[in-house]
């Protein structure tokens, strides 16, 4: 079977559907989305409480709690990101 330019184009258009974005990712209810949302919420809570503490409106335990929570959230996000990046690098180093 000879592969002409026409059949190549047909195969390409048939395979192109695999690269289309799946609608699942838009829902925002998947676990990674909630993880990112939690992270953003924790960091925002830390900032809000820190601002209130500077203005003398929040007590020390609330400040410590909010800062510790956002610190842990940032640490989790950074660790996960490092892991993902190193996995990508591992793939890129693969001999093709």
């Amino acid at each position: 079977m000879s592969i002409g330019p026409l059949s190549a184009a047909r195969f390409y258009s048939a395979a192109k559907s695999a690269t289309a974005a799946s609608p699942q990712q838009k829902s925002g209810a998947d676990t990674f989305g909630t993880l990112v949302n939690d992270f953003a919420k924790a960091v925002q809570g830390g900032e809000t409480t820190a601002k209130a503490a500077m203005a003398g409106k929040a007590d020390m335990p609330s400040l410590v709690e909010a800062i510790a929570r956002s610190e842990l959230a940032v640490e989790t996000a950074v660790t996960v990101r490092d892991k993902v990046v190193s996995a990508y690098q591992e793939i890129l180093r693969m001999p093709v």
Binding site: M60, P61, S62, E65, R69, L72, T76, V80, D82, K83
Partner: protein, 130 residues
């Protein structure tokens, strides 16, 4: 919220409660010489938090100690009665200092729990770093 982050919230609520207890104690100590002052007592109560599904502690209502105030002999005092006595406060300094020390110890215990929850989360993250 995971168990470890709710531990943070619970310990912080206990630290808040202990700090308000220390505030009440300092009010009592400050007013030890105030005539007619009644010692304040703070009670704690458990508050179940629906969001984290656990019991937090909250400083409850302030009540007044009903014990008899001391009678102080000082005929020159403006509030002294015909026998030369006037009504002081019913604050006992020894009791207040013991109360303050107890709230300090409870605060430290909760701080330890807070720190331990933080360290446990962090050491779990350490696994991913390798």
């Amino acid at each position: 919220m995971t168990n470890l982050t709710s531990t943070l919230a619970i310990s912080a609520s206990a630290m808040r409660a202990q700090s308000s207890r220390l505030r009440i104690t300092s009010e009592n100590i400050a007013n030890v010489d105030t005539p007619g002052y009644r010692r304040k007592i703070l009670s704690f109560r458990a508050v179940s938090n629906q969001k984290i599904g656990a019991d937090m502690v909250k400083a409850g209502p302030v009540r007044l100690d009903r014990s008899e105030p001391t009678r102080i002999y000082n005929p020159g005092h403006p509030l002294a009665d015909s026998k030369g006595y006037y009504t002081g406060s019913n604050v006992n300094l020894v009791v207040e200092i013991a109360d303050a020390r107890e709230s300090q110890r409870s605060y430290e215990a909760n701080l330890k729990m807070f720190d331990q929850a933080r360290q446990m989360t962090r050491s779990a993250l350490e696994i991913l770093r390798r």
